[in-house]
C-alpha cells in the first residue's frame, strides 16, 4: 500500500497497465513531454516513449477516432480528453461510433477504448473547465461510465476499464485530484464495475453521491450525526452499469433518499436514481426523494461557490428529508 493523491493513483494505474501489456498506449493533447496538464501522465513518456505516449494535434475527434481505429485493430488505447468540456468535437465519434460498433456489427467489432477526462467544478474554471455532463454519456447505450472518488478506486477502476471489453468513459474529479489522498494497493488490484461503495453506514437517510461530491456528502453526514441523524453515504462510482441492488437496499433500510450531483438537475443522473427508487423501492419510501444538484444554468465562473452543492446544502436537504413526515 502506498499513500497517493487521486491524480497520482490515476498515473500509477496507467503505468501498471502499460507495463503489463505493450498493446496499451496513451494518446491525447499534452500527455507526452508535458505529462498532461494535470500531470496524470507524468513520467510515462520517459518510460514508454513517444510511440506509446502520443502527443496528438489539437483535435478531440482525431484523438477518439484514431483510438477507435487502434482498438478495432487490437490495441488498447487510453485516450485523454483534456477537460470533459472539450469532448464535444469527439461526441460524434463517441456516441455514433464508439458506443455502437459492437451492436451495429452484430458483435463482430467490439470496440474497447478508454477515454479518461477530468470533469467538474470548484476550481475557478468557469463555463468550459467545470462542467459535469455525465448524463449525456450515461444516456448512450453501449458506453460504460465510471467516476472514482478515492485514490484506490481511481487506480482500481482504471485497471478494470483497461481490461474491460467495452468502451469506458472514465471521469476524473479534478477538484479532488490533489486534495484527497489515500492508501492504494500495489500491483494489478482492480475494482469491479457495477458495485457501489458504502462509505458510511446509517439508518435514517441514504445519501447517494459520486466523484467530487462524495467528500462534501460525507462531511454533511458527519454534521447530521451531531444532530442525531444517522446518514448512510453510498458512493455510486459506477454510473453505467449501476449497482441497482445497493441503491435499493439502502433505501429499504432508511426509507429516505437524497441524491447529490454537481451537474444541472433537469435530466441529470439523479433523476435516474429517483426513478429507480420510485419503481423498485416505492413502498420503502417514507418521504419524497430529494436532489441536491447544480442549478439549471450553464456553469458560472465568479459565483461557482453558490452554484455547487456543498456540505451545508447537502446537510440542509438531508435534514429536511430525514424529518419529513
Amino acid at each position: 500500500m502506498t499513500e497517493l493523491t487521486l491524480v497520482q493513483a490515476v498515473n500509477r494505474g496507467l503505468q501498471e497497465a502499460m507495463r503489463a501489456d505493450s498493446d496499451v498506449l496513451v494518446l491525447g493533447e499534452d500527455v507526452g513531454v508535458n505529462g498532461g496538464v494535470f500531470r496524470a501522465t507524468e513520467g510515462l513518456f520517459k518510460e514508454f516513449g513517444a510511440e506509446r505516449v502520443i502527443d496528438t494535434p489539437l483535435s478531440e475527434t482525431g484523438i477518439v477516432g484514431t483510438a477507435i481505429g487502434m482498438a478495432l485493430y487490437g490495441l488498447k488505447p487510453i485516450a485523454e480528453i483534456q477537460f470533459l468540456d472539450f469532448i464535444y468535437p469527439a461526441f460524434d465519434q463517441i456516441v455514433s461510433e464508439l458506443a455502437k460498433f459492437r451492436y451495429r456489427s452484430g458483435g463482430q467489432y467490439p470496440c474497447h477504448v478508454v477515454i479518461r477526462t477530468p470533469y467538474g467544478g470548484g476550481i475557478r474554471g468557469g463555463l468550459y473547465h467545470s462542467q459535469s455532463t455525465e448524463a449525456y454519456f450515461c444516456h448512450t447505450p453501449g458506453l460504460k461510465v465510471v467516476v472514482p472518488s478515492t485514490p484506490a478506486d481511481a487506480k482500481g477502476l482504471l485497471l478494470t476499464a483497461v481490461h474491460d471489453e467495452d468502451p469506458v468513459l472514465f471521469l476524473e474529479p479534478k477538484r479532488i485530484y490533489r486534495s484527497v489522498t489515500g492508501e492504494v494497493p500495489e500491483g494489478d488490484v482492480r475494482v469491479p464495475f457495477g458495485v457501489a461503495r458504502t462509505v458510511r453506514e446509517g439508518t435514517d437517510v441514504s445519501l447517494y453521491a459520486y466523484g467530487a461530491m462524495v467528500p462534501p456528502t460525507v462531511e454533511a453526514a458527519e454534521t447530521l450525526a451531531a444532530d442525531g441523524i444517522s446518514a448512510e453515504v453510498i458512493d455510486l462510482r459506477s454510473l453505467v452499469p449501476l449497482d441497482e441492488a445497493a441503491v435499493i437496499a439502502s433505501v429499504e433500510k432508511t426509507g429516505r433518499a437524497v441524491v447529490v450531483h454537481e451537474a444541472a438537475r433537469f435530466c441529470g443522473y439523479g433523476g435516474e436514481i429517483a426513478a429507480l427508487l420510485a419503481e423498485k423501492a416505492f413502498y420503502s419510501l417514507k418521504a419524497p426523494i430529494a436532489r441536491v444538484t447544480g442549478y439549471d444554468t450553464p456553469f458560472p465562473y465568479a459565483l461557482e461557490n453558490l452554484y455547487l452543492p456543498n456540505a451545508q446544502t447537502i446537510a440542509h436537504a438531508a435534514r429536511a428529508t430525514a424529518r419529513a413526515t
Binding site: D30, N34, L58, T61, L127, D296, P300, A302
Partner: protein, 375 residues
C-alpha cells in the same frame, strides 16, 4: 519584413486548379497599405499598454487578485496591427488571447479589467474565466474556451453581412493549434464556397500549450492550407506591425470587392506560458525563448520609430509612464468595483426564465435567507 503567397512544393499544379486569383492579394491593397507616422506611434502606445497590462495581470494572478490569466506577450504587433486594419462595423471573433485586439478597436482598459476581476462592471457578468472577453458595443463577439469554434461563426457573420449588403468584414482570430480543429476546416471550406468576406487571422505563436508547431501539422506553413480551400493564404512576420497591417488591409479590400476570404498566418512567438496554469519550462528550451525575444515586436517598433525620428528617448519614456499610470488607475477602479450580484448566475439562461428556473430562484433565495449558502 517578408510576404508571399504560401504555396506548397506542388504549387504550379495546385494553382492551375485553384480558383484563387493569380494576382497577389497584397498588391491591390498596397495603395492603402501604409500607416501614417502618427498611427504608427499610436500603435506603439497601444503595444506598450498591452505589454504593461499583461505584465501587471500576471502579477495579479500570482497574488491571487485575479483567478487566471492568458498572456499575450510577443503577439502585440500582430494584434494591434490587425486591430488597426479593421473599420467600425467589422466583426471580430476572438479566441481568449486577444486582449490587444480589444484595446486596439477601442474597448476601454477598465472594461477589460472588469472582466478579469469578474466584478459588477463586467458586461459578461462574471460568467467566464478571465480573458474570455465579449463586447457587443465593439462587435467583439464573446470568446469561449473550446478551440476553433469561433472560426465557422465568423464565416456565418460574413455571409450574413453579404446577404444584407453591408460593406463589412468578419475576422476570426485563432492560434496554430486551432488549425487542427474541425471548425477550422469547415470554416475555410464554407468561406471558399460562399466567397465569404472573412479574414482568417492565425497567430502562429509556435506552441499549442506544449505541442510545438512542427508537431501540429506537416504542412510547411499554416497559411497554405487556404490554397486547398480555393483562396489565398499568406504568411507575414507577426513582429512587424506594418506587415500585419498591410496584409489585413489587403485581405479586407479583397473581401469587400467580392473576391472572398483570405487566410493570414502571422508568425509570432509566445513569450509566456499558455496560461497561468502552464509551466513552459517543462517542454520548451530557454534558448528558444531568448532567441525569440531578440525579435520582440515592441522593441522592434521602438527602434524603427527612433531610427525614423518619430520617437526619442524622452517621448518614449513618457509613453511608458503614461501607460503605467493608465494601468494603475484602471486597476484601482476595477478593484473598487463591487462584486457581481450573487443572484445573477440565474439570469440569461433563456430570454425569459422557464418555470423550472423560476423555481430554482425560489430555492436559491430560501438557501440565502436561511444562511445555508453565503455570497
Amino acid at each position: 519584413m517578408y510576404r508571399y503567397i504560401a504555396r506548397t512544393v506542388n504549387e504550379d499544379a495546385l494553382m492551375a486548379k485553384s480558383t484563387a486569383p493569380k494576382s497577389s492579394p497584397t498588391a491591390e491593397g498596397a495603395s492603402e497599405g501604409s500607416l501614417t507616422p502618427e498611427r504608427r506611434v499610436a500603435a506603439y502606445r497601444l503595444m506598450v499598454l498591452a505589454r504593461l497590462t499583461d505584465e501587471r495581470c500576471l502579477v495579479l494572478q500570482r497574488q491571487g487578485r485575479i483567478g487566471f490569466y492568458v498572456p499575450l506577450q510577443g503577439q502585440e504587433a500582430a494584434q494591434v496591427g490587425a486591430g488597426l486594419a479593421l473599420e467600425p462595423g467589422d466583426w471580430a471573433f476572438p479566441a481568449y488571447r486577444e486582449l490587444g485586439v480589444a484595446l486596439t478597436i477601442g474597448v476601454p482598459l477598465g472594461s477589460i479589467l472588469d472582466q478579469l476581476f469578474a466584478n459588477s462592471g463586467d458586461v459578461t457578468k462574471g460568467r467566464q474565466m478571465p480573458n474570455h472577453f465579449g463586447f457587443r458595443s465593439h462587435n467583439f463577439v464573446v470568446a469561449s474556451s473550446p478551440i476553433g469554434t469561433q472560426i465557422t461563426q465568423a464565416v456565418g457573420a460574413a455571409m450574413a453581412a453579404q446577404r444584407r449588403g453591408d460593406a463589412i468584414v468578419s475576422i476570426a482570430f485563432f492560434g496554430d493549434g486551432a488549425t487542427s480543429s474541425n471548425d477550422f476546416h469547415a470554416a475555410l471550406n464554407f468561406a471558399g464556397v460562399f466567397k465569404a468576406p472573412t479574414i482568417f487571422f492565425c497567430q502562429n505563436n509556435g506552441w499549442a500549450i506544449s505541442l510545438p508547431r512542427a508537431k501540429q501539422t506537416q504542412s510547411p506553413t499554416l497559411a497554405e492550407k487556404a490554397l486547398a480551400y480555393g483562396f489565398p493564404g499568406e504568411v507575414v512576420d507577426g513582429n512587424d506591425l506594418t506587415a500585419v497591417y498591410r496584409a489585413v488591409r489587403a485581405a479586407r479590400a479583397r473581401a469587400l470587392s467580392g473576391e472572398g476570404p483570405t487566410m493570414i498566418e502571422a508568425q509570432v512567438y509566445r513569450f509566456g506560458p499558455h496560461s497561468t496554469s502552464d509551466d513552459p519550462r517543462r517542454y520548451r528550451a530557454d534558448a528558444e525563448l531568448e532567441a525569440a525575444k531578440q525579435k520582440d515586436p515592441v522593441v522592434r517598433l521602438q527602434k524603427e520609430l527612433m531610427a525614423e525620428h518619430l520617437l526619442d528617448e524622452t517621448a518614449d519614456r513618457a509613453i511608458w509612464e503614461a501607460a503605467k499610470a493608465e494601468v494603475a488607475a484602471a486597476l484601482t477602479a476595477a478593484e473598487k468595483t463591487a462584486p457581481v450580484d450573487p443572484h445573477s448566475f440565474l439570469d440569461d439562461v433563456f430570454a425569459s426564465p422557464t418555470p423550472r428556473l423560476v423555481d430554482e430562484r425560489v430555492r436559491f433565495e430560501e438557501l440565502l435567507r436561511d444562511g445555508v449558502v453565503k455570497p
